[in-house]
Amino acid sequence: MSNPTLLKVSGVNKTFGAVTAASDINVSVLKGECIGLIGTNGAGKTTFVNLVTGYLKPDTGVILYEGNDITSLPSREITRLGICRSFQIPQLYNTLTALENIEVSYGIVSLSAHKESLFTKTESMIPGYGKNIRQLAEESLERFGLTAYRDKLTRVLPGGVRKLLDIAMAMAVKPKILMLDEPTSGVSTEEKFDIMQMVMKAIRKDGTTVLFVEHDMEIVSQHAERVLAFYDGEIIADDVPEVALNDAKVLKYIVGDKHSSSVPTGKQHA
């Protein structure tokens, strides 16, 4: 039995003056998929993430999530429905510690679960989670290997740790779809494979559907089950990595012919 469609983007267009950021985008995302979004800078990957998460509104087209039209909803409502994202430049609360950053996320979940009650307490169990904010935040730190940074202010944390924290915060809302915008950008070459491994292990455990923007084709081929290749606001390839990464257009516009020998022809890693 095939997985149900979770997200359906139909005929979406978005322009900024003379620049076309999204041109007739049509994508269906199935429940449980892990999709890599590739493309050169300005190809429309982040615009796609921004459109789905409500930061940008399309000029034309419809975005359906679980069959409901979310095209005109604000990002806050879209998050509450189950689509969350992380950011290319981590969006953290810089005057708070790592623990408090995650506590804010669970605090918002708790307020929402308690119908925004004025008397929601930090110690209250969050319905559906069975634990309180502190317990969940501590668990999240452990899950993402951040326990050592628990009480450090986030503004002093190294780039890789900030990325992990950003993703850990997004996971607090138990999203059905998680969109990761360049989870390894700004992270050293030595660190990024381990970070991606840890992120995927932590978020795929819950069966979360993942769409991640990535420039490193090795990481894409390691983790993606499907690849969406963007060029000039259009999707030029939508297939399994072995096929998409060897597509003539993808090789020409994104991967580059001279690098094609490094593009895998089959899944090399689990």
Partner: protein, 312 residues
């Protein structure tokens, strides 16, 4: 981060003052009562500062609270202090709820100036209103406490006690609020509002909520001040009054819910001393104090408590 206060600590702080109050000189009773009233407004401003906002018009709610008490006691001859306080809080809260729909959309200087504009509109209306005494205002008759009309030598003590109880209830409530997930959300909004929205949190609703709470606190402060002074006039809504509340909040800091009250007490002392020693240039001393605090104690006087703890 904010120091938390327990009910025990609060009682330990308030009890000596309450016990000593019958032996305090009248001027001191008055000064402490006014400091409690100003501190309540500062408590609301502290919530704004935690969310990265400054209101230059909190005198609006201070004045609405004062005039609600004044109008009811003066024109309707109803003088029960607890009911007057409740009605003043209600009037300020309702106005803050209505204006909050607009104010909660704005941030930074726009929030500050819009709040200032509303307070100045009220000032203008009251100053032109001859039925309410125009710029002279009007006097407020003595109030009763649960039906008891205190004799003249006990008036100031009884008002101070009412102020203390009101402040105590507000402190417990605000302390709980700051410790709750919503309290942490205020700092989150200040640090990164976009991220907060992306987590499903509503910055606008949160700011609207604290706007109403701050309005209620200022209304209570205005009512207490009106009862203590026995007279109200439109300067209670004037921008310089709002400035004094900001001064008090910066002076105390936002490190604890007690900080605005410390700020208000110190402001009261400086104001009294400066005014009695130099009636024509007292603002000079107030201004110098503010410069001193901003340069040397940017986190306010309350930050001294943590410094003392570290030294110990």
């Amino acid at each position: 981060m904010t120091q938390q206060i327990s009910l025990k600590k609060l009682t330990l702080l308030a009890l000596p003052l309450l016990v000593a109050s019958p032996w305090m000189p009248q001027w001191m009773l008055f000064m402490v009562t006014i400091a409690m009233a100003n501190g309540l407004v500062g408590l609301g401003l502290m919530l704004f500062l935690r969310a990265g906002l400054v209101s230059f018009g909190q005198a609006l709610y201070f004045c609405v609270g004062a005039y609600t008490t004044g109008l009811i006691s003066h024109f309707f001859k109803f003088n029960e202090v607890l009911i007057l306080l409740l009605l003043s809080a209600l009037a300020s809260g309702v106005l803050a709820f209505a204006l909050g729909f607009l104010l909660a959309k704005y941030r930074a200087i726009f929030f500050g100036l819009l709040s200032l504009a509303f307070s100045m509109i009220l000032y203008g209306l009251l100053a032109k209103s001859e039925a309410l005494g125009s710029t002279d205002g009007f006097n407020i008759p003595a109030v009763t406490l649960l039906g008891w009309l205190p004799p003249s030598d006990l008036v100031r003590v009884s008002i101070l006690w009412v102020a203390f109880i009101t402040v105590g209830i507000c402190l417990i409530f605000i302390n709980g609020l700051i410790r709750s997930p919503r309290g942490l959300l205020l700092t989150a909004i200040r640090d990164n509002e976009i991220r907060t929205e992306y987590m499903g949190g509503s910055a606008r609703k949160t700011i609207h909520l604290i706007y109403v709470i701050a309005g209620v606190l200022a209304g209570l402060g205005g009512a207490i001040a009106a009862i203590a002074v026995g007279h109200i006039d439109p300067t209670m809504a004037f921008w310089t009054t709002s400035g004094e509340f900001i001064f008090i909040t910066i002076l105390g800091g936002i490190g604890s819910v007690l900080a605005p009250f410390l700020g208000a007490l110190v402001f009261g002392v400086i104001h009294t001393l400066a005014f009695s020693n130099s009636p024509n240039t007292w603002q000079l001393l107030i201004g110098s104090t503010l410069i001193f605090v901003i340069l040397l104690l940017p986190d306010g006087l309350w930050s001294l408590t943590s410094k003392f703890k570290r030294v110990k």
